[in-house]
């Protein structure tokens, strides 16, 4: 048994063997189920991505309008209320919010699957909402500061001096400029959603990579932990690339270069 698992060789030798396998798409096998780690990941990665994307959309759907309104009504009751909500959003532990929502909707009102799990949209909506809430606080804060930054620019004043309608000034000129930092920062924060997803998958029994990782940690299934951690590193790199791409795409200075 020890021989088959390779436990008789020193750890660093095993690590480099594993690393060599990684480049050939071989992440090793779980010593509990004997299933290839790559198979587990391939099965679970799409579910985690599905959850993260839905959560990301929720965070933008909640956070973006909140931040815009706060910026437009700067230093008024509306602004303070919106930012209070945002601060509340970042202060709630999302796993607790998940449990409470399970109780309210699943148990008390009996509207959805209380035990969680994986399936149709009724399984996705609560975990995605919870995942999105935490990030929406951050989203609305950075939207607000990006909008405030842009709204004080000279070209906004110039747009008003042209006699443009206020909604054109805000939603065409200000928002399109603010979109550059907002999109970049949002994509840079995307990895935080992956972190949140681990916890949320556990709360809602969502069979993604996070749940697999927690189970692996509890059973000391090291190759599974290693493989999933590696997968998260890849996701982080992709998120950073998305941030760079969105920056270049939204900013004409990069898109068209300097012609002078």
């Amino acid at each position: 048994m020890r021989n088959a698992l390779g436990l008789d060789r020193p750890p660093h030798v095993r690590y480099f063997e594993w690393l060599g396998g990684v480049f050939q798409g071989d992440l090793g096998r779980s010593w509990i189920t004997n299933r290839p780690v790559s198979a587990t990941i391939l099965e679970r990665l799409p579910r985690t991505i599905e959850l993260c994307l839905a959560g990301f959309l929720f965070s933008v759907a909640i956070g973006l309008p909140l931040g815009i309104v706060a910026a437009l009504k700067r230093k008024t009751k509306t602004d303070y209320t919106a930012m209070g909500i945002a601060l509340f959003g970042v202060s709630i532990p999302n796993f607790w919010l998940g449990i409470m929502l399970i109780f309210i909707f699943g148990v008390w009102l009996g509207w959805g699957p209380a035990t969680g799990g994986y399936g149709g949209p009724e399984y996705l909506i609560l975990p995605a909402l919870v995942l999105g809430t935490a990030l929406s606080g951050t989203t609305s804060r950075l939207t607000r500061s990006a909008m405030l930054d842009v709204l004080s620019q000279d070209y906004i004043r110039a747009a008003r001096a042209k006699g443009l309608r206020e909604r054109t000034v805000v939603y065409t000129h200000a928002l399109k400029n603010a979109a550059i930092p907002i999109a970049t920062l949002l994509f840079m924060r995307l990895p935080w959603i992956f972190g949140g997803a681990i916890v949320i998958e556990m709360v809602f029994d969502w069979p993604g990579m996070g749940l697999a990782m927690i189970n692996a940690i509890h059973t000391s299934d090291f190759l599974v932990i290693q493989g999933i951690a590696l997968m998260f590193v890849v996701l982080v790199i992709i998120a950073n690339m998305l941030a760079d791409i969105s920056y270049a795409y939204l900013n004409p200075r990069i898109r068209y270069g300097m012609r002078r």
Binding site: S91, G106, I225
Partner: protein
């Protein structure tokens, strides 16, 4: 000689910093900020609870107070927040959990500062290769989700309080390093630092006597804003069973079992530890936000969460 004296005047002690702060406009601004008052009140409440936990909690944290099933009784009577599935008093456990939460949070922030501040000082003060190396590490640490790395670390090295704190500090130090570096960069160009250098003070003296004390405002802000984030992250790891274990009444760990208990309609074991987390985190977040706006409006982009 006069230049030197001027330089000495600006190099100040930590206590001198607070004396200076009390007379500054930032203080006036802070006093007028409602968030500061709300945050301050909540923080006092939480810290007070932690200090006097033994007096407030009516029962021991592991006393089994219910003799027969059902052990989990709803709030009311002798148990104002009810009892959990093992017949223990939820109120006492939540109260005692305050101490654990603050302990974890403070230790973690302290460790992050101990790692991050010297690295930031070195990067900012010396620049060049050191700076490049430190900042590269900062970028990696900041872009990586702390929870994933911490979970993986614990997966390999085991759970428990110490590993929990070490695991979370792996990414958390970066915020301190970045802020300190930015401060060191501006302060080292100040005339009083140049005059200190001109009279032949050692680098170490310059850093500890001039740069650190004069750049401390943002550090206080970052520490205040990092603390609630640290408490949240730690509670998530505790919830996943990767940190402090049962029967220690850590709020996150208390929620682990609550997840399945709500399915049986037992909501009070889930509700109250969460409320305790929210009160604590909200208090420090309010205070941190108010401090940030009062001390240094430029810090806004460095929001940690």
């Amino acid at each position: 000689m006069s230049v030197v004296e001027k330089g000495r005047k600006v190099g100040l002690s930590i206590s001198g910093y607070f004396r200076k702060l009390a007379r500054s406009p930032a203080w006036t601004y802070l006093k007028r900020d409602e968030r500061a008052w709300i945050g301050f009140a909540l923080v006092i409440l939480v810290v007070g609870t932690a200090i006097f936990a033994d007096f407030i909690a009516p029962y021991g944290i592991n006393d089994r107070l219910i003799e027969e099933a059902p052990f989990a009784r709803p709030p009311g009577g002798a148990f104002i927040l009810g009892t959990d599935s093992q017949g223990r008093d939820v109120f006492s456990r939540v109260i005692q959990g305050t101490r654990i939460a603050l302990e974890i949070g403070l230790l973690l922030v302290a460790l992050e500062a101990v790692i991050g501040v010297p690295l930031g000082l070195m990067a900012g003060y010396y620049g060049g290769k050191v700076d490049e190396l430190v900042m590269r590490a900062v970028d990696v640490a900041l872009s990586f989700p702390g929870l994933v790395l911490a979970a993986a670390f614990i997966g390999f090295f085991g759970s428990g309080l110490n590993n929990l704190i070490i695991a979370l500090s792996l990414t958390g130090w970066a915020a301190f390093a970045r802020i300190t570096r930015a401060q060191a960069l501006t302060i080292k160009e100040q005339p009083y630092v140049e005059s200190a250098r001109a009279i032949g003070e050692k680098d170490r003296t310059i850093i500890s006597k001039y740069i650190l004390p004069n750049g401390i405002s943002p550090l206080i802000v970052i520490a205040t804003m990092t603390l609630p984030a640290a408490i949240l992250l730690a509670s998530a790891l505790n919830f996943m069973g990767l940190g402090v274990q049962e029967p220690t009444p850590a709020w996150g760990a208390m929620l682990t079992g609550a997840r399945s208990e709500v399915l049986d309609g037992i909501w009070w074991t889930a509700l109250f530890p969460g409320v305790a987390i929210i009160i604590t985190v909200l208090g420090f977040n309010f205070l941190g936000d108010a401090l940030r706006d009062a001390l240094d409006p430029r810090l806004r982009e460095y929001k940690y969460v």
